[in-house]
Symmetry: none
Subunit: 129 residues, 4 copies
């Protein structure tokens, strides 16, 4: 039994849920480089969704260099935990830049912006850091 799950009620697309899920497992250390992923069919059966949807997620992950899949041999993790973390760092930068630009145009000030970041962080986490 793997740790991968999907929520059919979530509006996020299933294959994206799978992608985010597997990335999170690598980031958390539950999946390490060279670990084997569940097979397309077995995971589909376990989650009760169509194998094509798993396939799509795996294909996308391979395209990003996060896993490798080999016919007849299954799929395994390729990316190191840290490289993935660095990638998220970059994503954070971009997202923040887009948000900052939009808020600037709306007359929001730096003070309010940074405070929003702090508060959002504290509000999100179950436990204060």
């Amino acid at each position: 039994m793997s740790l991968i799950t999907v929520d059919l009620r979530d509006r996020k697309q299933l294959y994206e849920q799978l992608i985010d899920n597997i990335k999170a497992l690598i980031l958390s250390g539950d999946l390490k480089k060279d670990d084997k992923l569940p097979s397309v069919r077995s995971l589909a059966k376990e989650l009760g969704i169509n194998p094509n949807t798993i396939q799509k997620a795996y294909t996308e992950l391979e395209r990003c260099g996060i896993i490798v899949s080999m016919p007849g041999r299954g799929s395994m993790v390729l990316a190191e935990r840290d490289s993935l973390r660095d990638e998220m760092s970059g994503k954070l930068e971009n997202a923040m830049a887009a948000l900052a630009r939009e808020m600037r145009e709306s007359g929001i000030g730096k003070e309010e912006f940074v405070r929003a970041a702090e508060e959002a962080w504290d509000r999100t986490g179950g436990k204060p850091e």
Copy 2:
């Protein structure tokens, strides 16, 4: 000729472009409370897009209480600049919360998160605040 434009090459949906565009004009002060908006048909003709798309944007803006449309008499701005600014504040909160949640899962720390917000703000603006 109005200041409203759309970019057909932009991946963002046309009606969302229109909504953001009009909101921005209010926030910048180019459109004030009680100003008249171009008619659905004239704007559609001017922009070369389907009137349905304009209609959808106007309907959505009316639903949010930002404009008001009166059959036969056109549409006009209803919201004050400041009320719109407050709305953006709420949007900022939501966006920050979503971002914070995602980054938490990736092992990013509060420090890095808040610093990213500050740096993004500074990097974005042409002139330092």
Copy 3:
């Protein structure tokens, strides 16, 4: 009627045929930046293959930045002819390097390698250059 075709007897995969085909049309100048591509469904019908296969090709082309697709608005060419040509140049370099390495290991000499390139070129083309 478009210029895009597929050969069901070819062992190359259909979606790759489509990708190569569209790239070639851009390279030949038959498709220019901002030209509209046939819709997924209409092309599928015309070629007698499944829309999903067209979709896969379009998705891949979009991923490479060669086209853009927008729900409800269709797909259009994004890449300039020259940028695509430069990309092929890079591909040529890599392919040649891989081939050269392999042939070196097999005891083939530079003379024979370069002559093979010349002869292959002349043999391939219908008309001598």
Copy 4:
């Protein structure tokens, strides 16, 4: 311990890795005509892969007349180094032809193609020829 290895992470199929590996050993002179190859079972054990995979490689090599297998007596090299070198020549021709065709379609000229071959060769080798 033999010089034969496989890379489980390589996307190339294992039996092809084995075939290329053995061919390379013959081309380099490490394996000569009449040299004995490791047995299917011992090599499988040494490499930690399925004996079927070794068998498939040996079978393919025998089909090409490069080795010969005798039940109960193992397998040995049949091909001379030079005959294998001729085979690579043929492979070079095919690969060049495919590459030339593709590049022609992309608007690459003969000049550029041949120069790419020369440069690739020079760049590949540690020592100039």
